[in-house]
Symmetry: C2
Subunit: 528 residues, 2 copies
Amino acid sequence: MNSEEFRIKGKELIDYIADYLENIRDRRVFPDKKPGFIRGSIPDAAPIKGESWETIFRDVEKVIMPGVTHWQSPHMHAYFPALNSYPSMLGEMLSNAINCLGFTWASSPVCTELEMVVMNWLGKMVGLPEEFLHRKGGDGGGVIQTTASECTLISLLAGRFIAIKMFESLYPDASKHEINGKLVAYCSDQAHSSVEKAALIGLVTLRYIECDEDFSMRGDKLLKAVKQDRDQGLIPFWVCATLGTTGSCAFDKLAEISEVCYNELLWCHVDAAYAGSAFICPEYRVWLKGVEKANSIAFNPSKWLMVHFDCTAMWVKNSSALHGAFNVNPLYLTHEYSGLAIDYMHWQIPLSKRFRSLKLWFVIRNYGITGLQEHIRKGVFLAEKFESFVRNDPRFEIPAKRYLGLVVFRLVGDNFITETLCKRLNSRGNIHCVPANLKGKYVIRFTVTSPRTTLEDIVVDWKEIVTVANEILQEREKYLTRAKVPLGAKDPKPTNQGIKGLRRSNAVNLNLLIDSKCKYLLNGSAMP
Amino acid sequence: MNSEEFRIKGKELIDYIADYLENIRDRRVFPDKKPGFIRGSIPDAAPIKGESWETIFRDVEKVIMPGVTHWQSPHMHAYFPALNSYPSMLGEMLSNAINCLGFTWASSPVCTELEMVVMNWLGKMVGLPEEFLHRKGGDGGGVIQTTASECTLISLLAGRFIAIKMFESLYPDASKHEINGKLVAYCSDQAHSSVEKAALIGLVTLRYIECDEDFSMRGDKLLKAVKQDRDQGLIPFWVCATLGTTGSCAFDKLAEISEVCYNELLWCHVDAAYAGSAFICPEYRVWLKGVEKANSIAFNPSKWLMVHFDCTAMWVKNSSALHGAFNVNPLYLTHEYSGLAIDYMHWQIPLSKRFRSLKLWFVIRNYGITGLQEHIRKGVFLAEKFESFVRNDPRFEIPAKRYLGLVVFRLVGDNFITETLCKRLNSRGNIHCVPANLKGKYVIRFTVTSPRTTLEDIVVDWKEIVTVANEILQEREKYLTRAKVPLGAKDPKPTNQGIKGLRRSNAVNLNLLIDSKCKYLLNGSAMP
């Protein structure tokens, strides 16, 4: 493709994208596909000769779109949102045209400089103390990472680096592996799975602190665990406080936790992956109290600020801890200003990075702070509406307080009935939700996406949920009558084994609802 | 910005991008900027109200472009190439519009399925054994990662997981930290800095094997080191073989190395970051011999296959080792086909991934295998031409064999003179190169980029190099005459301390050429 063809095809694609997003409600949000479905639609080897753009692009509607989970659909309520926006997409188009790699300052100076400025903008927008910002003589600053999971890992590795250094100097005879073997990290039992992954990679013990009845980690329980571990000769070194848990968007009590960390010399990392965007609205910053005693914080503008994936904002107070954990300096990466300018390669796991600040810059400027605040508040408003629909139907319950744009709900009764509801909703494909396990209760998570979402969309979603619930409750009624099992028969004990455990335990008394033939076919079918 | 405005502004941006790439020779390839240059051009806080696209876009030429290192310029010879292409950019535009996150199969089925198919295409294109491909009943397969550095880390962690498992079962009393403390990884002394970073993160000892006179790691030296470590009670577990080193694009002798790994039960990772793209041409696959005994291999289509960053292709024979190293499975990420379909979150460090196979698919289809082969061969041809220019000028030398598109050269004589040449070339900004340290010799790396590069560009580059070299040699001549230092005075002993060592050692006899005032100003200036 030469530039003349690109001018034509690129403009056609712009229209295709605008059409796609304008008419996204016409598409089934969750695809009706089985593993391996793509086989047969695509040859199993690359073409020898180049193909025309027309031939290639024809396959987008034929092969690609039918297999997409449409994250931009207002009927997408699974996980947390991952929103794009027009200025974000324009930013990325420009970034891809330039296609510079920003590992050192010199590898493309403006890539580093703009990132520093825009991360300062964003840090101020969410009300971070200035110790987290880039400033003259300061050691703090912001960086754009690929994902929040990487931020968790990076902060854990930085904390590990400091702890090992510290204990090596205290106990010169101890090897770093001995010290590492004694390191303990902490997080709430509601923390994201990426904390577990970080601990696996860092090869440190991870201690889950039981959350309170609001699903929050509290300072006293953390302190107790830290002291117990110290008594055992272990070395507590790092804590992950979650602001907005994946299960129910609960908030750990940061002020209590960072206080413990500060007193006990532990690295306090704040994972605000989803909820962090909301802190641009001052009314939500109450949850951020205590951040001044934390060491690092990360959230995803790629979730709720309409900067499309990937774009994770991370700030640290002491960037030299990252340097210590990652610093390697070969000659081919040194430059005239090495040591005088920021080389972001020392702040991250991969060497290279894309010019991601462009899209963040475009979005912040195009919407302005007030425009982005409106977007957040609209999302919360729609979630409140959905919550009120659920509360007005006594067959449903909301077992955890709603925070921000996430409502968790379930049908009153055993887990299996809600699991059936969730699965049937997804198989119909009109809305898409995923479940969570809250202290043994199977719940459906309903995240409001916006900016395209309207109140009408939410009404449609609720109608779909009620329709399917009616269907399931009627089936259940029929079954229970036929099987003469008294209503309210004791539910199987909830387990903590995740979906497999839930499945097994419920299957005992309600296996009629399981399409065993379908299950056999699935389990019997070969891997894709 | 609404969709109507996007249709207009997006099309204008398409033209801007085509213009940028068509006329890229008009821009200075390396910017004339100092750290902190952006201050003053951008407000230090975000705007309260949204700004118009016109206002925002005006800053692209005013603020952004003057600070860009133009990686797409034919006069960019630093690092390794990072090329974009029109079909690649179209692929990413579509991917950003869909903006799905591909962590599990269900999070967007076609995102996983297309990645599997296209990685099979690419694996076949470079001639990988079928154990590395996705196939029925097989455990192998390909995955797109963000960077080659992450592949190095991932494979090291997978190897570590296996080694720890193995030794835990052999020595049930040993803790995993004791085992980890004994693990030894190996690579050539020419390997990329990311291997060191991976070892830092994995907290394992890294042993550098001295390369031979062709800068290749050899099997005998590796085996000797492995045996010595075993004799010391250590546990060799992982080897990184480099195909195409950063310094000189040298090739470790993979057949020898993977044979050692196979016999000694070590995970053999092949880092072919740059050179891997060349294996689509059968004539270069000679260096790939032995891959059948390796465990993982990675290369960057984002370097030399015109798929813009990020896109790193990685294949493993046994994906369950990755699962073991990373597997965490919360309820909110389970789905109907968990365990039956590939969930790429278990193959990588971050949880989420973009729909990157689209751009790779578009590029492979639009160019076809033959089109991509032509592109590689053209790059090698232009490098050969450049090499012949250097060889015809006796003032220059090429201290390491040219491989593929990378020529390393230096002025005959001490390191300082070549360092001066490199710096002055970069400060003039007409071409951009970075240095490397080859066994103590300071060399300038000249990588051919293409696809826009023509023979005429290379001639222009060579003229620029000769002009600057003439200037420097004349200055030196003047200095030497004045200082009455005999020509050919013994060079300071080459050091292995990187640029700082080189600077110090040369400063002894040639400090007159250093602008000490400038140095003082730089070192005295505050951090940006």
